[in-house]
Amino acid sequence: MTGLLESLIRGLGNGSVYALLALGFVIIYKATRVISFAQPALMLAGAVAVSYLAEVTGFYAAVLLAALLIAGVALAIERIAIRPMVGRPVFVVSIITLGIDVVVRVVVNGFIGRDVRQVGDPWGFAQVSLGPLVVQQRWLAMLLVTAVLVTLLFAFFRYTRYGLAMRAAAFDQETALAQGVSVGMVFALSWGLAGFLAAIAGMFVGTGQGIEQLTWVIALKALPAIIVGGLDSLGGAVVGGLAIGVVESLFQSYQGEFAPWLGQNFAVVTPYVVMLVVLLVRPYGLFGTREVERV
């Protein structure tokens, strides 16, 4: 029983990282109808920025600075490569982000080098006991920080002018434009927010085991999360991310014992299996808007 609960907490920890990344995907999708495949590169860039800045400014200041830096990078990408493409098919823009991802990742890999880089986090693999449970501190840190960030984000969308502008633009761009909302600003803001969240997620991915050139693949697990939750649902992104994390963690703990025929490391691909199963039942995710098409 304690094993199960410990596995759940690990899953929720990892899942909250997926949720942060998934929120970035969904924010960009809602504003621009584009899935940004550049998120993995931004995540990796965030982790690398933390690992370099932490040596100078200390860890916590480094996280904030790195997140702002990556938000700036995301803004630059949006302004240079995405804004000129407004009005073009969304598929084309998504493929452009795929190209950007490849380019940014090569640059970032140059900073990582061939070895594992530590991000300089205070948690490492240190453990803490919660009653009978022994869990790693970093899972709790992930869960806590994500909870705070998600609350702030939802409050931002609910109560601020800019949040209202973003909701309006996501609902109907032309009407929002007619009401005086700067849709260009909304695009920029959505990329900036996504970059900020990706950087924080990257830092968490790097806690403990550090980052290497292949770490970017982890960001792609947020894609099943947004499909499960529904592409245009912020709440769905959080739920999807946590669900993916928990399922992955449970398979990691129990698949070797109960289903060894699935092969080693099956847990790594469980997010994609979950995604396929959910899609067979609900093609637009658990909370996504069903597209209604009329001729």
């Binding site: 584009v34 899935i35 490569a81 000129p84 493409m85 073009r88 969304v90 598929f91 084309v92 998504s94 493929i95 452009i96 795929l98 190209g99 950007i100 991802d101 490849v102 380019v103 090569v106 640059v107 890999n109 140059g110 061939r114 792609l220 894609l223 099943p224 947004i226 499909i227 592409l231 092969g263 080693q264 490391n265 099956f266 790594v268 691909v269 997010p271 994609y272 299996v273 995604m275 396929l276 899609l279 067979l280 093609p283 637009y284 597209e291 098409e293 001729v295």
Partner: protein
């Protein structure tokens, strides 16, 4: 069927000196509709065959691989370009083809599965068919999903496939170990060894070129048939297509099946040249490379897909030559910047630049050049 008066049925005579005047439907739909196209296509194909005795073996090897990739790119173009269903899962179908071919032609009783059927006319269609079956099995998902949802699902397919191929050690040899690739043998004659027909590279080059011509002509014919028109209708507006009587599900399944057939054949042939398959090579990067070929070459054109495949394949030898020219770039992977980084950055940048500045790709550049000279010197 008799044609109504005034409209000539069948293939009627062309009017001399009026290359754009079509007097029948058959003329309008002809594969090579002008004399210029007929002559230059003939010259191009003849030149491609002649190159096999002119170029060094090393270059022929690169070109042979490029031709196989072109077959795969044409396949992706059928589903993504003609039918408009975005697939990031092409590498998965390529892998299925590669392993079907390798298992059928491999020596029986070895460390990995093998059935000893090395005849190319057995394993090549088999590789295509098995991949096509996989494509048809995936297609029900595609018929329920549209656009970017489909892209993400097919991306998931690549990861699932990678896992299966890494774990299924009897078939693939496992990661880092790999197995021998399909053996091309035609009526008892090994095509991957030096022989009376020429060196190994020359023979493989001719084999791949001939197959590319066959697959390319088949794809062109498909595109101008009833099926091709149905694909285009689905791409342009799927609901409108259904309203005018195109069965969506059937044609989407068909598009995936045909595209996967091409991918499977390309997979079977791809590793003949190097003679070795490693399960780690069928990753997302391979899918992205195929997407890049289609986008850089030209969406929904067969000639564009071939041009794109040649372009991407030749990028590698060109960047490998860079350290000699630009001393800043190193040939050593431990240093930055090295040729591999430059190559990867070029993939990404070229995709972005082509999409921003010339969405029709290399084919579009060719159309621009042609139109400029068509009306020269009155280019406005």
């Amino acid at each position: 069927m008799t044609a109504p008066p005034g409209v000539s049925g069948g293939r009627s005579r062309r009017v001399r000196g009026r290359p754009l005047l079509y007097t029948s439907y058959a003329q309008d739909m002809a594969l090579l509709d002008t004399r210029g196209k007929r002559i230059w296509t003939g010259v191009l194909v003849a030149a491609a065959f002649a190159v096999s005795v002119l170029l060094a073996d090393r270059s022929l090897e690169v070109l042979a691989v490029a031709y196989v990739l072109a077959i795969g790119a044409i396949g992706l173009n059928i589903v993504t370009g003609y039918a408009g269903q975005v697939s990031l899962g092409h590498a998965f179908f390529v892998a299925i083809g590669a392993y079907t071919a390798a298992a059928l032609s491999g020596p029986p009783g070895g460390e990995t599965l093998g059935y000893g059927l090395a005849e190319i006319w057995i394993w090549l269609p088999a590789a295509g068919l098995v991949a096509a079956v996989a494509g048809v099995l995936v297609a029900p998902l595609a018929t329920r999903l549209r656009g970017l949802y489909l892209a993400i699902v097919t991306l998931g397919l690549v990861f699932l496939g990678e896992h299966v191929f890494k774990e299924w050690k009897e078939l693939t040899g496992g990661p880092g170990v790999g197995r021998e690739a399909a053996i091309p043998q035609l009526f008892g004659y090994r095509l991957d060894q030096d022989g009376p027909l020429g060196t190994k590279e020359q023979v493989l080059y001719l084999l791949m070129l001939s197959l590319l011509v066959v697959f390319a002509v088949a794809a062109r014919n498909l595109a101008r048939s009833r099926v091709g028109r149905a694909f285009a209708a689905i791409r342009d507006r799927d609901i409108a297509a259904e309203v005018i009587g195109v069965p969506l599900t059937r044609y989407k399944v068909l598009a995936f099946g045909i595209s996967s057939f091409y991918a499977g054949c390309a997979g079977g042939l791809l590793y003949c040249v190097s003679g070795y398959v490693e399960p780690g090579s069928f990753n997302l990067l391979l899918s992205v490379q195929f997407i890049a070929m289609v986008l850089i070459g030209g969406v929904a054109t067969v000639s564009g897909a071939i041009a794109g495949a040649l372009f991407i394949s030749l990028l590698q030898p060109v960047t490998r030559a860079l350290p000699a020219l630009v001393p800043v770039i190193s040939g050593d992977t431990t240093q930055t910047p090295n040729v591999f980084q430059v190559e990867t950055v070029l993939y990404g940048l070229l995709i972005v630049l082509f999409l921003v500045f010339e969405p029709r790709g290399l084919f579009g550049l060719w159309i621009r050049a042609r139109n400029y000279w068509k009306s020269w010197p009155f280019s406005y």
